[in-house]
């Protein structure tokens, strides 16, 4: 079992760079394209005089991406500006100051390294005849040639291939020396701690659910934009590093991510709550002498770990890839951010579980549950809403990493319904009685 897990883990080191290479050849619009935004820098009433203001903005850029910006004034003329761009984690800074005639020309910035940058602009303008002066800036970033990354990912793929091959050979050779299998029918005959451990091992190995979760981790990596360019909206008064981690966490996302997450959750529910009734988990629970209530909670915990782990790992992987210096420089903040994402993701998966597990009681056959829930997902759930509000809840909780309490407050009828469904599901599953295993 541990050997299989180690082999699967080694395969990841081969597949991850291959997935990233595939993205280089088939990039998403966001990766190739340009992010464009308009930001208010200065708005002041200054009849006939000078006004000034400043502005700062975080940016996620990759090596050799190019940033341009432009400012324009309504009711006033730009007199001077000062722009500074700094790499947040390394502190590398680039500055430019323009006055008078040059204030109509704006610099172009080429990113020498990957990561979060801070753009700071201070501007002075001469107001016109009267009324308000408004200065607006527009930002755009163009993706660079990704040839350098292709070389890096190819090298990584070679390392991964070597590691996977050596792991496979070693585990195969050793596996021939000692082979031990636990069939469910033999589990009952094992005694003591050894028997318990064997049953636990069988439980985690059953049906290869963990393999599916490894695969889902890869699916997340393949749908996330490795080269996402981000110019976020400002988020109130928050420490810059915290804001940077939130920018990284929310950039590690994809439009199809909620569907993948929901399908993964659905698959796990169908196996843990439907299939187990037919055979498998319930039998092991019975052999272990665990009550249905504790069995239900054990399955719930298994579900939460298996659903949230791939998602949070994929996000953490991208955060590390984008700005490792920021992570190693602020490990506690990194852990706090990942923890926050994890809590929110767990809440989302709990929310889904409440509905899906109740549905699994009503439709106890695996296929019935899969069809019913997936039809609901495809037909009724939309970006604007749906019976479960799956997309909006996911976006706020997992992508935007909003405060969980505010999301629950915003969608309180849905969360109240989820709570009711979850309690009903627990009650029904526990009360339905013990299966008479032969």
């Amino acid at each position: 079992m541990r050997g299989r897990a180690a082999a699967a883990f080694a395969v990841l080191t081969l597949l991850v760079p291959l997935i990233l290479l595939a993205r280089l050849h088939n990039p998403s619009p966001e990766e190739r394209g340009l992010f464009f935004g308009q930001y208010l820098i200065l708005s002041a009433g200054a009849p006939g005089g000078y006004v000034s203001g400043s502005f700062d903005q975080l940016l996620l850029m990759h090596v050799n991406d190019t940033l341009t910006f432009r400012m324009r004034g309504e009711g006033c003329r730009l007199e001077s500006y000062n722009v500074t761009i700094a790499h947040l984690s390394t502190g590398e800074r680039f500055s430019f100051e323009a006055r008078r005639a040059l204030a109509g020309y704006f610099p172009t910035f080429t990113a020498p390294r990957e990561g979060v940058y801070v753009l700071e602009i201070s501007v002075a303008a001469a107001a016109g005849g009267g009324g308000a002066c408004t200065v607006v800036a527009e930002f755009s970033i163009a993706a660079s040639d990704r040839g350098g990354y292709a070389k890096l990912f190819t090298l990584q793929a070679w390392v991964g291939a070597a590691l996977t091959a050596s792991a496979a050979v070693a585990l195969y050779a050793l596996g021939r020396r000692r082979r031990q299998r636990f069939a469910p029918s033999k589990l009952g005959s094992l005694e003591g701690l050894k028997g318990r451990l064997a049953r636990l091992e069988w439980y985690f190995g059953f049906s290869g659910l963990w393999v599916v979760s490894f695969l889902v981790f890869l699916v997340y990596l393949s749908v996330f934009d490795r080269f996402k360019l981000s110019i976020p909206q400002r988020e109130g008064l928050m420490p810059r590093v915290e804001l940077a981690f939130l920018l990284l966490a929310s950039s590690a996302s994809s439009r199809v991510e909620p569907v993948v997450a929901a399908l993964h959750a659905l698959l796990l529910v169908s196996v843990l709550y439907c299939y187990s009734r037919e055979e498998g988990y319930e039998h092991v629970r019975f052999l272990l002498g665990v009550t249905p209530a504790r069995g239900y909670l054990a399955k719930l915990l298994t579900y939460l770990v298996l659903t949230s782990l791939p998602l949070v790992s994929a996000k953490a992987y991208l955060i590390l890839s984008w700005d490792a210096a920021l992570v190693f420089g602020n490990p506690l903040q990194f852990l706090a951010t990942v923890g926050r994402v994890w809590v929110n993701a767990t809440l989302f998966f709990l929310y889904l579980l409440a509905f899906y597990s109740l549905l699994s009681y009503l439709l106890p056959r695996t296929l019935y549950l899969l069809f019913a829930a997936s039809i609901e997902l495809y037909v009724y759930e939309t970006a604007l809403g749906g019976p479960l509000m799956l997309y909006p809840v996911y976006r706020q909780l997992v992508v935007d990493v909003a405060e969980a309490t505010s999301v629950v407050a915003a969608f309180w009828p849905h969360f109240a319904a989820a709570l009711a469904a979850g309690l009903a599901s627990f009650y029904l599953h526990v009360r339905r009685g013990e299966v008479k295993w032969r």
């Binding site: 990039p27 003329r77 199809v256």
Partner: protein
């Protein structure tokens, strides 16, 4: 379990197509981005709320000039016409230049209909009384020069010149009698043909550009000649989506309904999130592609479609439509509706700012198909927005200057109508319309006295080792070692 796994993988693959760029085409990226941004409720791309008049520090000044070199690229689409032209040039012993056009002299009022050209060899290509004359027009080198002569608060006066070097042309004497008055007297008349041979021919026009609506007007006749294309209006520079009327083709009939004038208008869709695929260098100034804006021909003729009994709509079709800013709604009774919201929204906003507008023309094509076409109302003409020729226009985001205007190489143009140099060449009641025969046309800004150089910050770097991967590889090695050690015991 197996079925469940298969189901999950298939579903994941199906949904990932939205995120992939498997569908090719130049229009899609930003449109898809936009559509998805709209779908997912982000506001980054919707800036019409900010569409107010901004006072730019205008880079254009009196005496400013822009010089474009025109070249031909790609493969010819009209081999029979080229063969015929070559034979004619050889038989009359006229040198044939690198670029070959079929130039038609059109009645600029556009009151009559033209028909498709005849490839039988007769030089009077477009039929109908409006197409008075067709000329094989050849040149080795073509340049376009735009000079700002005067500017006021309400208008620019611009001199627009097209210079043909090593120019030669052949036209039928009986149909092209008025052409010598418009361009220059022919070098000779041979075998019923007017023959021109010049070291250089310059066609010049004085254009007045109205600053309030960006309409270009012929200074001599006062006739509207289309939207000004050589630098963007403050409105176009301040919004995320806009439409540009790039040209009018009086050469092609487009009769959607009898109410239309029957000609084609070329509309470019500009999404400010779109950049060119390469950097530009103009007069030593390096313009990074992040500094560019690209406008593409809008590839659809309609803005709404309803199909009854359409059956199942494929995900691929939905994906393509999404790339054009359209959403597809499939009703349970198998009726399918296509809404092109991005285009409609841009169309509704340009009404206030431009001298033309989009007029919806709704038609029942057949009992099962209902469409709302986008017609263009401009200066007394109702034009159809038929996508028959495709263009890309690249602008500098900072100054708004046109950097490159070209046929779109990724989409096949049917007629080869060359917006440049055709635009603004109006003489009295006639216009000269250029159709490139030996490839596709490209006009590139090569020189200007408008400052384009901007300061440069930062420096090129190289991709560094991926720490997440290193961590993963180390963990995998550790896990494998632990597994081996355990089994060894």
């Amino acid at each position: 379990m197996g079925i469940a796994l298969l189901f999950m993988i298939q579903s994941a693959l199906a949904v990932s197509c939205c995120n992939s760029a498997s569908t090719t085409g130049p229009y899609g990226d930003a449109v898809a981005t936009t559509a998805c941004a709209e779908i997912y409720g982000t506001s980054e791309f919707d800036s019409y709320g900010a569409a107010i008049v901004f006072i730019y520090q205008n880079p254009i000044f009196e005496g400013a000039f822009l010089k474009y070199e025109v070249s031909v690229f790609g493969q010819p689409k009209t081999e029979p016409l080229i063969s015929h032209a070559k034979e004619l040039f050889e038989s009359l012993k006229v040198p044939l230049g690198k670029t070959l056009f079929l130039v038609t002299l059109q009645n600029a009022t556009g009151g009559t209909k033209a028909t498709a050209f005849d490839t039988s060899g007769e030089l009077v290509m477009p039929g109908g009384p409006a197409s008075l004359c067709g000329v094989f027009w050849s040149s080795d080198r073509i340049s376009i020069q735009v000079t700002v002569e005067t500017m006021s608060g309400s208008a620019y006066t611009v001199n627009y010149s097209v210079i043909f070097s090593n120019f030669s042309a052949i036209g039928l004497e009986k149909t092209c009698k008025m052409l010598p008055e418009l361009i220059s007297p022919p070098s000779e008349i041979k075998g019923g043909y007017l023959v021109w041979r010049r070291d250089s021919l310059t066609l010049s026009k004085k254009i007045i550009v109205n600053v309030s609506n960006w309409n270009a007007v012929d200074a001599d006749s006062g006739r509207s000649l289309g939207e000004w294309l050589f630098w963007l209006s403050p409105f176009d520079l301040s919004v995320n989506y806009t439409l540009i009327l790039a040209g009018i083709n009086l050469h092609v009939t487009a009769g959607i309904t009898p109410n239309l004038s029957g000609f084609v208008g070329y509309v470019l869709y500009l999404n400010a999130s779109n950049t060119a695929s390469r950097d530009y260098v103009v007069g030593g100034a390096d313009i990074k592609r992040a500094r560019t804006l690209v406008a593409y021909s809008y590839p659809l003729a309609h803005m709404y479609e309803k199909v009854l009994r359409a059956g199942r709509v494929s995900e691929e079709f939905k994906s393509i439509m999404r790339r054009y800013g359209c959403s597809v709604v499939q009703h349970p009774n198998s009726t399918v509706e296509v809404f092109c919201e991005a285009f409609s929204r841009a169309a509704s906003h340009i009404e206030r700012w431009k001298a033309w507008k989009v007029v919806p023309v709704s038609m029942q094509i057949d009992p099962n198909l209902f469409r709302t076409f986008a017609a263009i109302k401009y200066s007394g003409l109702y034009l159809a927005m038929y996508p028959i020729d495709f263009y890309t226009f690249v602008y500098d985001r900072q100054t708004g200057l046109l950097l490159e205007a070209s046929h779109d190489p990724s989409v096949e143009s049917w007629w080869g109508h060359a917006i440049l140099p055709s635009a603004y060449l109006s003489f009295g009641n006639y216009t000269l319309s250029f159709k490139v025969l030996n490839g596709l046309i490209n006009a590139k800004l090569v020189e200007t006295n408008i400052p384009l150089q901007t300061p440069s910050l930062g420096s090129p770097g190289r991709a560094e080792a991926d720490p997440a991967y290193a961590l993963l590889a180390a963990s995998a090695a550790l896990a494998t070692a632990a597994a081996i050690a355990r089994r060894w015991r």
